[in-house]
Symmetry: C2
Subunit: 302 residues, 2 copies
């Protein structure tokens, strides 16, 4: 991996982690167990892709006041984590391990894990609202709208619905696969980038470009995940190989095969890169981190 | 029941229902089942107490622009409904009936019901945000903060945690009972009243009074529920008599007995009434609906 990229990625992830730690709730009171379960899930590692993307989009558009973006960086990771906690529940995928660590319900029980997911989703909004009162409440409201829209029934939750309904379906149409990948995965990537742009004061056209690039990137990310689920090792993945396919989840690879899927990844990545390259050119920032991130993602092993 | 009160209550409930219907999502798209499950839960009847309280508090403080309060009235009912859907899940209380009707998971399965609850909580914020852009975004943000705070780990979800953890406990302290009643039930009553005041432009001191009155009212409401759960008929309750006690839920009646509990209901009600009476006096509104509502609630059968 390119040295400059590697260093930038590490620094960005570290920065996102620090910000998240600043906003996690204190484990105290008669609701202590709930907060422990939330923090157990939040601090289970992960790539922190969404806050990293948000911060970078914010920098591209010249964001300066970090207190405005920091609460949203924590919030997007809380919403992402809530979705993992609920996806892993016995009533959903019934997964006992994630990233090589016991899932939240495996440690705290299904009832408390359901509540921890609820708590995380709600606390994401509480946290994002901490960006208010700094003279940019119009931007905060616009960002809150995107945050809510892309997580909900017209975003991630909508994709999850179609995913559940098509589990073990005999014949899955490309329409359904695209809907699931776009909504369940890409929507949260889109909102990460869009909120970064919005809070830096980007105009509507630029925010639209970020949304489009996020869609390409998000779907490419999901397809690469599907490939890895078939070709990776258990150690690389932190979960059994082929576990998604075994569960009969909606999966592009199962329908189109590995080669076709990787071709699609390359095609989507190249579209996203051309948008980011243009945005970086206009920004005056020399190192096009997001373009580089996509190239690395195309070949990632975990 | 007093004629004027009865008519006012009916009109208020009808008004809240109409507003809710204006904001429920359309059942279409590949996420149609999810939206159906959400609407099934939202339209399962219920007293619509929270939006009715919100609207009345808003009127007391001279609210005029209904487009500002309407999205929050729908949002508070969505959050309340989300909490019922998740409380009824097999991983929680495993209730198959509510208000004499099958619960959401009994109809749609536990996975889809989990998702429907998530969808409702998230859609509540999407809906509340529709109050923005009307020249009062400072009030909207203040109201959103209260909405999120009182539903989350320092509100309803926190109370639910303590309730779960103390299920079937041998010895429940008054501290735990008070915490559960205050957080699980009263916090959402408080936020209903507070948001009504905030959106009408009430000052901080008045909003604080609404919060205090909401706490008294909410706890009294819960204690009356506990009494009914022991003394009501199945037909009145829409669920088996004594079902909460059988489940070993935190319950004031089980510790203090019926007489003591009703005494407490009366005491709390009288405190709430004296606050509302004062607020009505200053408002110029002649009919003190909320004071009357509490008197009726003290003796309610369902």
């Amino acid at each position: 991996m390119d040295k400059q990229f590697e260093q930038y990625l590490l620094t960005s992830k570290d920065h996102a982690e620090k910000i998240l730690l600043r906003y996690i709730p204190t484990e105290q009171g008669l609701q202590k167990t709930l907060i422990e379960a939330m923090n157990y899930s939040l601090l289970a590692g992960g790539k922190r892709v969404r806050p990293v993307l948000m911060y970078e989009a914010w920098k591209i558009f010249g964001g300066t006041e970090e207190n405005l973006i920091a609460p949203f960086m924590a919030a997007i990771e809380m919403i992402h984590t809530f979705s993992l906690v609920h996806d892993d529940l016995p009533a959903m995928d019934n997964d006992l391990y994630r990233r090589g660590r016991k899932t939240t319900h495996a440690v705290y029980g299904a009832g408390m894990a359901t509540l921890a997911g609820d708590g995380l989703l709600n606390f994401a909004f509480e946290t994002a609202l901490k960006a208010s009162g700094r003279g940019h409440d119009d931007l905060v409201i616009e960002a809150l709208k995107v945050l809510a829209l892309k997580a909900g029934i017209y975003g991630m939750a909508g994709g999850q619905c179609a995913d559940i309904e098509n589990e073990n379906a005999e014949d899955i149409s490309d329409e359904v696969i695209e809907f699931v990948n776009e909504h369940k995965t890409a929507c949260m990537i889109e909102s990460s980038l869009m909120i970064g742009g919005i809070l830096a004061g980007a105009d509507a056209e630029s925010v639209k470009k970020l949304e489009t690039a996020g869609s390409y990137l998000g779907i490419a990310f999901q397809l690469r995940d599907d490939i890895l689920n078939k070709t990776g090792t258990e150690k690389e993945l932190g979960k059994p190989v082929g576990s998604d396919e075994k569960k009969g989840k909606v999966n592009y690879v199962a329908v189109h095969g590995l080669e076709e899927t990787q071709k699609k990844v390359a095609e989507l990545s190249s579209k996203a890169i051309s948008i980011f390259d243009e945005l970086y050119r206009n920004s005056g920032i020399e190192f096009a981190f997001l373009s580089e991130l996509i190239k690395q993602m195309e070949a990632r092993k975990n």
